[in-house]
């Protein structure tokens, strides 16, 4: 699942994906506008000290090919391949930019995005629209930069002067050579699309499914239900054996005339259309989308020209695994008929192993824990692992949130102290905590809520106490009071965390992270967290006459947030 980024958001790439081979796609378009999308490889001073790392249409890759321009594909206007672990030491920041070519300004841009795809899955997406810009002619969309680890930041910063201003910003000495080259609408070098290495085609997997997939409906119909309409056009009910010449044979009759596949387990009649067996190709049922029922693109190449290979384990003699396909020569309208004399195998349920092997281990492979040598590692959306051995300091976690641990870990009660309990009782901002100490890994989760690690680097965040799952003990926290009129009880309270460390926030459902704008409001029951630099104002809509009668909107206390750009609030789809 892609993580949505807003302008100013940052994240460690290792938190997004374990891979280092990234696909960065940019979509940006506007009527009558053309764009040059390029990637600047900058050094630690954010200077373009080596212009071989200015990757654009005239220079589609960096010297060691760690940054490659791939061209437009899969809905992206431009795309790059970035191999993080091959980027040389001198390059500490990759800035992805879009510059206008010709007339126009950035406010004319339609909705676009910058996304990162890794391992066939989109892991991050920063969406923007032209409304965020004004007269700029260039925009820095996002950065992949190195600070302790590779990180991604959604930037969205515009430049009035276009490409020249950008180049100047990154160290002007390139200007003389490169700037003239930019404005001419030179087509991309022919190699651009071809740069996509074959092994690296995630976008086609995510955005545009391979050809067989979109066409499942016809195939089962042809194979499985064998409706009369499908059979009749060719030849009605042909005598068995006479079918080979014409393409569309009732499935039940295909195996006999397929001498290329003596092994019934080969079931090539179904798989073959991709790469017909060398023998009498005419016997193969030709519906082109026939592989669709098996919809497993990764496996298909393996079948090419290897009929004897058992495709899905032991397929019985009946060659129509797609569930219902059990029609003999006589197609029965309801479609649940069975081959006479072949009842047991009639449903053709594949009993063999699924893709990726059989057995408990293989079936659970996708749920394996993800190893990374970090203190906080998100295992999946709802499970967090903390390695106490890294960093060495204890972790405070909500009582009862441990689901599993390995190693020598001690769990002890963490009291709030006398004053803390008084405050906690009075404000409702009370946390039942336990201290996890020792050496080992602890897995934390609670009630299948979504977990979000937030790394604080000296900054502060306000979180409602009931949404805190765990945090590093190095963080300081205190109860903060939000004053306002019209709130039952006089004020709202929240927990403010400050310092350097990680806090894990839990939400019911996928939250929305909103940037703080002059008009950002949130329900005080649904807001989970906000960056502490944002100022909170209570805007209550108390109208005596409305509240006194039925028909109240039920939305009485709202919080309004104000702050500089870069602040955000987190709201969950669940009102406590």
């Amino acid at each position: 699942m892609a993580r949505e980024f807003q302008r100013g958001h940052k994240a460690r790439i290792s938190d997004l994906t374990a891979g280092t081979d990234l696909y960065v796609g940019v979509q940006i378009a506007g009527s009558g506008l053309t764009f040059d999308i390029s990637c600047f490889g900058l050094d630690a001073e954010e200077r373009l000290s080596d212009d071989r790392y200015f990757v654009f249409f005239n220079q589609p890759k960096s010297p060691e090919e760690s940054i490659q321009l791939l061209g437009a594909q899969a809905g992206d206007t431009e795309s790059f391949r970035v191999t993080l672990d091959r980027i040389p030491e001198g390059i500490r920041k990759l800035s992805f930019t879009a510059t206008l070519d010709g007339a126009g300004q950035m406010s004319q841009v339609g909705p676009g995005y910058l996304r990162i795809v890794a391992g066939g899955e989109e892991v991050a997406r920063y969406s923007f629209t032209g409304a965020e810009f004004s007269t700029e002619r260039a925009v820095m969309l996002g950065d992949i930069y190195f600070k302790d680890a590779w990180r991604f930041a959604a930037v969205g910063q515009g430049f009035d002067g276009g490409l020249e201003a950008l180049l100047k910003n990154f160290g002007g000495e390139v200007l003389e050579e490169e700037a003239p080259a930019a404005p001419e609408p030179q087509p991309q070098p022919g190699a651009a699309p071809g740069f996509a290495p074959p092994a690296f085609a995630p976008p086609t997997e995510t955005a545009a499914p391979p050809a067989p997939v979109p066409a499942p409906p016809p195939a089962p119909a042809a194979q499985g239900y064998a409706p009369p309409a499908a059979d009749t056009p060719p030849q009605g009910f042909p005598a068995p054996g006479s079918t080979p010449p014409q393409g569309f044979t009732p499935p039940g009759q295909t195996p006999p005339p397929a001498p290329a596949a003596p092994d019934v387990h080969g079931a090539p009649t179904v798989i073959a259309p991709l790469a017909p067996p060398p023998g009498p190709t005419g016997t193969v049922p030709p519906p082109a989308p026939a592989p669709a029922p098996y919809g497993q693109p990764p496996q298909q190449p393996a079948y090419g020209g290897q009929p004897p290979q058992p495709p899905y384990g032991g397929q019985p003699a009946a060659p129509m695994p797609p569930g219902y396909g059990a029609q003999p020569g006589a197609p029965m309208p309801p479609g649940y008929g069975q081959i006479p004399g072949q009842q047991t195998a009639s449903y053709g349920v594949p009993q063999g192993a699924p893709q990726g092997g059989a057995g408990v281990g293989a079936a659970l492979q996708k749920f394996k824990e993800t190893p990374t040598g970090q203190r906080w590692t998100q295992q999946n959306k709802k499970l967090m692992r903390v390695d106490l051995g890294i960093g060495g300091q204890p972790v405070l976690a909500k009582q009862g949130s441990m689901v599993l641990y390995q190693g020598k870990v001690d769990f002890s009660y963490k009291g709030a102290g006398f004053a803390g309990r008084i405050v906690g009782n009075a404000t409702g901002q009370e946390m039942q905590l336990m201290r996890c100490t020792g050496q080992g890994q602890v897995f934390l989760a609670e009630n299948a809520t979504y977990l979000h690690p937030i790394e604080l680097q000296g900054d502060a965040i306000c979180v409602s106490a009931e949404n805190v799952l765990a945090f590093d003990e190095t963080l300081q926290y205190e109860v903060r009071r939000i004053e306002g009129h019209g709130i039952p009880g006089g004020a709202l309270f929240t927990m403010q965390f400050q310092g350097t460390g990680t806090i894990v926030v839990k939400t019911h459902g996928t939250p929305v992270v909103l940037p703080v704008t002059p008009t950002t409001f949130a329900d005080c029951n649904a807001v989970v967290a906000w960056s502490a630099a944002a100022q909170v104002i209570v805007s209550s809509q108390v109208r005596m006459r409305r509240n006194a009668y039925p028909g109240d909107t039920g939305e009485s206390v709202n919080l309004q947030f104000r702050g500089a750009p870069g602040n955000f609030i987190v709201v969950q789809p669940y009102e406590v």
Binding site: P322, Y336, P350, P354, G359, L364, Q399, A445
Partner: protein, 226 residues
Amino acid sequence: MNQPLAGFAPAPVTARMENHGHHMLKVAMQTGNDLFARVGSMVAYEGFVQYEPNPPAVRQIARDWITGEGAPLMKCSGDGLLYLADYGANVVVINLNGDGISVNATNLLAFDAHLSWGVERVKGLAKFAGQGLWNTRISGQGWVALTSRGTPIVVDCGGGEDETYVDPDALVAWSPNLKVKGKRSFKAQSLIGRGSGEAYQMAFSGEGIVVVQPSEDSTDRLRVRG
């Protein structure tokens, strides 16, 4: 009208059991290849599928189920497609292929009837009176579907000297060859109301895997019998 819904049409069958989305199980039923499923888990079916609540074979063991594993089963037979779900829990499909797995009854959704299975008491646990963890152990050649509240995580016990400790409420399944024992982590101070909230864990050691869900079910796994 139903264009937006078209994406949810079932994919063609490729295996006996498959996920439809994360939370639904699709079973291709076939005569002679029956299925045990949790009672009430059927959400839809196509074809001719019959349901026998509490069939004789199960009744024999029903007593065992009552002793702690409270999930009654039904036997499904026939031809067609059967869709099962359990209140939106994630479904995990496993092709056993000769392996065995030990599952909490509350996390068991369906399994092939020809698998060998039985309810067993977890050894090494429950030394105190009246309580015990009962589990369903399944092995053989066939398919099993488990449920998990949230995406599960699979942890390799690795056979190292360090044991893996699991909250019994979050435990879904484990390899039957693992050694299990109970561990109480509370101390004297817990008795005066200052516990860490983690009073009791199960310790696993040996070669194998443990499947854990990111939620602590409210249903009590260590239930009182009798």
